[in-house]
Symmetry: C2
Subunit: 138 residues, 2 copies
DNA sequence: GTAACTGCAAAATATTTGCATCCTT
DNA sequence: AAGGATGCAAATATTTTGCAGTTAC
């Protein structure tokens, strides 16, 4: 586990620090997307609020995690698949938000359907956010 | 124009006030989605910041406007189609966010494709957010 | 040793709440 | 007249910035 996390940091030319290891492990351990508040709450050692902001931003910039647009506009983060690289995200999977427990899932296996936009528009990326009830809450 | 706006308010048992008329007209006039900041900036009479918050919330509750989940997690609002009613939104259209000018469009004519989720999940609503470049910016 | 990272303080920004006043019906 | 809507002040919450001290390499 820790090795994987260290590898990720090395691959992205980031120095190995407690903070980054801890936060990245949280993502590894979690099958769900995490908010800034989740991270503050879940991490055993207390990480400074500001450092968490900066770490998350760094990870997003490096393509290690991605943000998820949610219906209630809270910011959620989740690990990217390998295809992501700096400045270029390819998270073309479906996100599912459970209205009961508030959990956000990345449904990695389900690919995004083609969406037809007007001819004059250029599509870079498509996000699909499904709201409903997850398997644990029904 | 004003008549339409007044009708909308009446249909929703909301009293007719300058504030609501003004904000609702902004949405009518705009082909794009608006943020709280947009509304503060665009409205001719200065509306109190707090009142705008409350008005937007009221409109969302009543199903007059809906929020749009954006990739950068700013909150955008746009008029709902008639099918929306209190507590129940049916905005199953595609939202398009232009990375150049930052404009959010509701592509009303383009319906949401079916998304297959795991059998254990119940789908209530699907949002599709397309990022790219709009016709004006290419 | 040096550059990058962190934590604290504080600034800037965004959102919510309470309450007295005003406006719509 | 009565209830809802507004605006102001202020409380909270969220995010950003500056900087000095610490850590990774």
């Amino acid at each position: 586990m820790k090795d994987v996390v260290i590898d990720i940091l090395k691959h992205n030319q980031l120095s190995i620090t407690d903070n980054r290891l801890g936060i990245l492990e949280l993502f590894q351990k979690s099958s769900k997307a995490l908010s800034h508040a989740d991270i503050e709450r879940l991490s055993e050692k207390h990480f400074d609020r500001v450092t968490i902001y900066r770490t998350l931003q760094t990870f997003v910039d490096k393509g290690i995690i991605h943000t998820i647009p949610t219906a209630d506009n809270s910011i959620m983060y989740a690990l990217c698949k390998e295809a992501c690289s700096e400045g270029h995200h390819h998270d073309d999977h479906v996100h599912f938000l459970c209205g009961q427990c508030g959990t956000t899932y990345c449904l990695d296996n389900i690919s995004i359907p083609e969406v037809n936009v007007p001819k004059d528009f250029i599509v870079h990326q498509t996000n699909v956010l499904v709201n409903g009830v997850c398997k644990n809450c029904r």
